[in-house]
C-alpha cells in the first residue's frame, strides 16, 4: 500500500528561485535561510520517497483569471515549468504518475472534494521553487511529482478548515492505493507577507511561530481563523499558509518533529520550514 512518510513546509517565493539560479546561497543575506534546508535534504535522502505531492497555488501561469479552480490536481505523465515573464530560468520537466493521480482524484471526489482534473498543467514558481530547494543538487528529480493547486489568488478562497479536511481526505486517498509507494507531501507558501497596497511589508514573527507550533501540535487551532482574520495577521499573500493544512491533514494526528527552521525576512516574507514525520505504523 502507498504510505505517507511525512510532510515538509516551505516558502515558494520566486526570489528564492532567483537566488538559486544565481548561486547566491552562501551570500550573507541568504546563507542562514538556505543552510536551514540541509537537514530537510538529509531527511529526504534517508526516507527516499517515490512521490512528492506538492500543494501550492498558481500565480498566473497555468490558470488565468478566466478559469479559477478552487482545488485542482495534475493527472498527467509529466509537467512542464514555463516562463512567468520575469526572467528566472525555466527548470527541467517533472515526471508524474497518472494512474496514482487519477486514483487520488477519484477518491477525493468520492469523499466530496470536487477536484478539477488537469491533463496538461504548467507548474509555476509555487511548485518548482520547493522542488529545487529539496533536490537541485541532484542531476535528475529523484521523485515523481503530483501538483495539487489551491486557489489563494482570487477571492472567494476556500478556508483553512476546508484545507485541513481536504488533507484528511487526501491521506485516505493515498493510503487506499495498492502500490507500495512512499509519499511525501509539501505544504508550500507563506508565512506572513503582504506584497500589495500601503500595508505591503508586514511580517508578523509572533504569528508565524504560533502557526508553526500549532501546525505541529494543534492544527485545529488554525482552522478557527476566517480568511479575513488570517489576512489581518499574515497579510493578503500570507494567507497561503492555509495550504500547509492540506499537508498536515494528510498526516497522523501525532507526528514526529524532525526539523524546525524559521528565517525573516527573505525578500518580503517570513519563511517557515518544518519536517514532520509520520510515526511508523
Amino acid at each position: 500500500m502507498a504510505r505517507i512518510v511525512g510532510g515538509v513546509t516551505t516558502s515558494h517565493i520566486p526570489a528564492i528561485s532567483n537566488a538559486m539560479a544565481k548561486g547566491l546561497e552562501q551570500e550573507p543575506y541568504w546563507k542562514r535561510f538556505f543552510d536551514g534546508y540541509e537537514p530537510v535534504k538529509e531527511w529526504l535522502a534517508k526516507v527516499d520517497p517515490d512521490i512528492a505531492i506538492v500543494v501550492y497555488n498558481d500565480h498566473g501561469l497555468n490558470f488565468f483569471l478566466n478559469q479559477v479552480p478552487t482545488f485542482a490536481i495534475g493527472c498527467a505523465d509529466h509537467y512542464e515549468n514555463a516562463d512567468e515573464g520575469w526572467g528566472i530560468p525555466t527548470l527541467a520537466s517533472f515526471e508524474g504518475d497518472a494512474p496514482f493521480s487519477w486514483h487520488l482524484a477519484e477518491s477525493l471526489i468520492n469523499q466530496d472534494f470536487d477536484m478539477t482534473t488537469c491533463q496538461e498543467m504548467l507548474v509555476d514558481h509555487g511548485f518548482v521553487t520547493p522542488m529545487a530547494l529539496m533536490w537541485r543538487h541532484l542531476p535528475n528529480w529523484p521523485v515523481k511529482a503530483i501538483p495539487l493547486a489551491v486557489n489563494t489568488v482570487q477571492h472567494p478562497l476556500t478556508s483553512a478548515r476546508r484545507c485541513y479536511q481536504l488533507g484528511k481526505a487526501l491521506g485516505k486517498a493515498i493510503e487506499s492505493y495498492p502500490e507500495d509507494l512512499k509519499v511525501v507531501i509539501f505544504g508550500t507558501g507563506g508565512l506572513s507577507h503582504q506584497l500589495q497596497g500601503e500595508r505591503a511589508g508586514i511580517i508578523d514573527v509572533d504569528f508565524d511561530l504560533e502557526c508553526m507550533e500549532h501546525i505541529i501540535h494543534d492544527p485545529e487551532w488554525m482552522t478557527r481563523f476566517s480568511n479575513t482574520e488570517l489576512m489581518e495577521k499574515a497579510g493578503t499573500e500570507g494567507i497561503e499558509v492555509i495550504m500547509w493544512l492540506v499537508m498536515r491533514g494528510a498526516l497522523a494526528p501525532k507526528v514526529n518533529v524532525v526539523h524546525k527552521h524559521y528565517h525573516a525576512p527573505i525578500s518580503n516574507t517570513g519563511a517557515g520550514v518544518l519536517v514532520l514525520e509520520n510515526p511508523a505504523s
Binding site: 477571492h155 472567494p156 500589495q196 505591503a200 511589508g201 511580517i203 514573527v205 518580503n268
Partner: protein, 133 residues
C-alpha cells in the same frame, strides 16, 4: 446589480483581490498574463500604448501602466502577481513595488521588513527546538 460588501475591506492599505476587483481589472490582468510569452513582451516593449489599446484597457489603466503607477493599478483592479509581470518593464521587482505603493524608497521599504523581523532569533530560542545554524 450591487457588489456586496466584505469585512476585509476594513483592513487598511489593503486591496483584497476578489470578484469585484477581478471584474474591474480583467483586461489589465489579461494583458499582464500575455507577458508570459517573450514575443508578447517584445511587442509590448515596442509600443506600450498600442499594446494596451489592443487589450482593451481603460484610459485610466493604460495611463497608469505607461506611467508605472502601481498603486493606481491596484485601485483599478490589478492583481499584485500580474502587476509583477508589468513591473519588470519599469525595472522593478516586488520590493520596489512594495516601496512604490507607500511612496518610499526601496531601502526604506527593506528597513521596514528588517524592523518587522527584528529579534526573531531570540523568539526562536524562547519557543525552543529551532535550527540555529
Amino acid at each position: 446589480m450591487v457588489w456586496q460588501p466584505h469585512d476585509y475591506e476594513n483592513i487598511p492599505g489593503t486591496y483584497v483581490f476578489d470578484g469585484q476587483r477581478s471584474h474591474a481589472g480583467y483586461a489589465l490582468n489579461r494583458m499582464a498574463f500575455s507577458f508570459n510569452s517573450a514575443a508578447n513582451r517584445e511587442e509590448f516593449a515596442r509600443d506600450m500604448d498600442a499594446y494596451c489599446r489592443k487589450y482593451g484597457l481603460s484610459d485610466e489603466q493604460r495611463e497608469a501602466v505607461l506611467g508605472g503607477d502601481f498603486l493606481k493599478l491596484l485601485h483599478l483592479g490589478g492583481n499584485v502577481y500580474y502587476l509583477a509581470k508589468i513591473a519588470v518593464f519599469h525595472g522593478m521587482n516586488v520590493q520596489d513595488a512594495g516601496a512604490a505603493f507607500q511612496g518610499i524608497t526601496t531601502p526604506e521599504f527593506q528597513a521596514i521588513l528588517d524592523r518587522n523581523a527584528t529579534g526573531f532569533t531570540d523568539k526562536l530560542q524562547q519557543k525552543g527546538g529551532y535550527w540555529h545554524g
